[in-house]
Amino acid sequence: MATAKTQRHAAGLFDIRNIIGALLFLYGVVLFIAGIVGSSSVQKAKAGGVNANLWVGIALLLVGGFFLVWAYVRPVVVPDDLDQTDEKQPAGNP
């Protein structure tokens, strides 16, 4: 993102990993709760006797959490002048 006006800063909220992580985590929470409180025998029978919402909810919590942790541990650093990274390929044409 070529927005940086300061020297270098973390990309912060608009790191796509935060967005993926947040959405999947939220979905995980909703499914987890639906799995605990809303699981009637009819709903279970549909999925062949498994509490599908609960298990998928747990999986999504883990995957969403992974993205959030990844983005937190290794933030994207946005350099001041991103357009200059082009210098790696001195192309022959303008």
Binding site: M1, K46, G48, V50, N53, G57, G92
Partner: protein, 566 residues
């Protein structure tokens, strides 16, 4: 699929939890558009994300842009109808071409700093070939965007009962708002998000359905009972090609689908290439299609396998299939929706509906974002208003997005009236791709090839594909005469093959009698005239950072998959 009585069969009883999940997704989609707006300050930001994205993002967007309505519904329908031969569309018809794009062609696209695939055409072959390419591409994109929009609206209509025009306008407005705000960044970020949502929807669907049928063995048993065991092997795939001879079927799949059609599509289609071009450096641009290839080779397991499962698990569909695909009120296109209806509890159902809507909108958004770039840079800036300030073109891109969306709404209404015509139009646009690949690959490696050869090859190649399609049984519907006994995919393979061969022949012949471009103008565009350092790929040295080595790993994996599921 849109017959009135089928809507009640497909109606999913979504409850408030499902709607909550769907609504959450749309908040995220629009939020991405709003946030991406902050990063748009030049036209390059708007059209190519400022060439700043990491390889895993552009790689996922690369396959996500293709993971639209046509693919999800079409490939699961094929899975339900013919079973495993459908895998060829991925393992033969996509992966090799994606790897070839990454290793061989991307250095030319990215290294020459062109902003679109047609612009490469302009620099290599001049204005005539460029006009042919950019106009046909722009028209194809708005029409296909309309088809995607129409599919989305019919599905919302049958799933949730919304009137067609309400869902058409609502979906168009959402796509319009996030692309006009955030340009390609918003489109790409949404494609990446869409990828995860669709996996979160389809993976549990597959696993649960597989559990319900009693595992892989259970699926085999059920298919044996239904006398469709032969659908469990992917080769020689006669059911896919429509050829009676197994030998020609294999040849058709490898050369027709695997070479001409798929190389034409994946290496010259700007919708795909644009995603890789948004990468932050040469190495990322080359790795994007390879990184995309890894999930791409496993996507059939969550799209085709559910189709196969639906054909044994959903009673209506099993009956329809046993009757030889006749008798309605449903058809194969409904496979994945029927499976969702029967297998998913409320909650997961919401995730699945959000995933499908996401896929459909992303398909349309990909078409629109590729269209606005080609329209603004290749048509308007090149031929109509040349020397305006940069901000003018960004604004133009936003208006082009609005225009494309309005036309797409119009096209989607047409598609509802003349659905067959739309299919044939898409077949026709497919014919542009095979000669494009021939022209590009010849132009990249043969410095003598002339500008005149560029456009004559393209035009004659496309025309010969159209001629073959007209001679075939059904490739262009009632326009086809049936002089040559070819039908289904086999006819497309032969048409594309003819286009490729004629393009090469005409290009070679015309080159010998016309004047080539001066060599000084071809640096970065032709292999032998490009210094090695122009294509220098600054990677760290690990095997997973080297495009050829990473592509080798992907190739070995896809060969293993082919052997495992032969």
């Amino acid at each position: 699929m849109i017959a009135l009585d089928s809507s009640s069969i497909l109606r999913l009883d979504a409850n408030w939890v499902d709607y909550l999940l769907i609504a959450t997704y749309f908040v995220f989609v629009l939020g991405i558009g709003l946030m991406a707006r902050r990063s748009v300050s030049t036209s390059l930001d708007f059209f190519l994300s400022g060439r700043s994205l990491p390889a895993w993002v552009t790689g996922l967007a690369f396959i996500s842009a293709n993971l639209g309505a046509v693919e999800v519904m079409g490939m699961s329908a094929n899975g339900a109808e013919i079973g495993m031969p459908t895998f060829h569309y991925y393992w033969i018809g996509a992966i090799p071409a994606m790897l070839f794009l990454a290793v061989v062609m991307m250095p030319f696209y990215y290294g020459s700093k062109v902003r679109s695939v047609p612009e490469f055409m302009l620099r290599r072959f001049g204005p005539t070939a460029h006009l042919v390419n950019s106009i046909s591409f722009a028209i194809a994109q708005v029409l296909i965007a309309g088809v995607n929009l129409y599919l989305l609206a019919t599905i919302v209509n049958s799933l949730l009962g919304w009137p067609i025009w309400v869902s058409t306008v609502a979906a168009a407005l959402i796509v319009l708002s996030y692309i006009t705000l955030g340009g390609l960044s918003a489109a790409i970020y949404n494609e990446v998000l869409q990828f995860f949502v669709i996996v979160a929807a389809l993976l549990p669907l597959t696993v649960i359905a597989l559990h319900k049928v009693g595992g892989w063995g259970g699926l085999k048993d059920k298919m044996a009972t239904a006398h469709t065991t032969s659908q469990l092997s992917s080769w020689p795939g006669n059911s896919l090609t429509g050829f009676t001879s197994s030998f020609w079927s294999v040849i058709g799949i490898v050369f027709g689908l695997g070479f001409v059609l798929s190389f034409g599509y994946w290496t010259t289609n700007f919708v795909e290439v644009q995603r890789a071009m948004a990468s932050k450096d040469m190495n990322s641009a080359r790795r994007a299609p390879i990184i995309g290839a890894f999930p791409k080779m496993f996507i059939p397991f969550i799209i085709i396998v559910p189709g196969m499962l639906a054909a044994v698990l959903v009673p209506e569909l099993a009956k329809y299939k046993a009757a030889g695909g006749k008798g309605g009120p449903i058809d194969y296109n409904d496979s994945i929706l029927l499976l969702m209806r029967d297998v998913l509890p409320n909650g997961l159902l919401g995730v699945a509906i959000a995933g499908l809507l996401a896929a459909f909108m992303a398909g349309m958004a990909a078409n629109v974002s590729a269209f606005n770039t080609v329209f603004s840079y290749d048509i308007w800036q090149t031929y109509i208003k040349k020397d305006k300030p940069d901000g003018y073109y960004t604004a133009l891109g936003r208006w082009a997005t609005l225009g494309a969306t309005v036309i797409a709404i119009g096209t989607s209404l047409l598609a509802g009236q003349f659905s067959n015509m739309m299919n044939y139009l898409q077949t026709l646009f497919g014919f542009f791709n095979a000669p494009l690949f021939a022209t590009f690959i010849l132009g990249m490696f043969w410095k003598r090839m002339t500008p005149t050869a560029g456009w004559t090859g393209l035009v004659s190649g496309t025309l010969s594909a159209v001629v073959v399609a007209i001679l075939s049984n059904d490739a262009l519907g009632s326009l086809s005469t049936g002089v040559v006994n070819l039908s289904g995919q086999g006819a497309s393979f032969v048409a594309a093959g003819a286009a490729f061969v004629v393009d090469i022949l005409v290009s070679v012949v015309v080159t010998t009698v016309t004047l080539p471009k001066p060599e000084s103008e071809l640096r970065g565009l032709v292999y032998s005239l490009t210094p090695k350092e122009d294509h220098h790929d600054d990677h760290g040295g690990s095997w997973w950072q080297s495009p050829p080595k990473l592509a080798g790993v992907a190739l070995v994996m896809v060969i293993i998959l082919n052997i495992l599921f032969r």
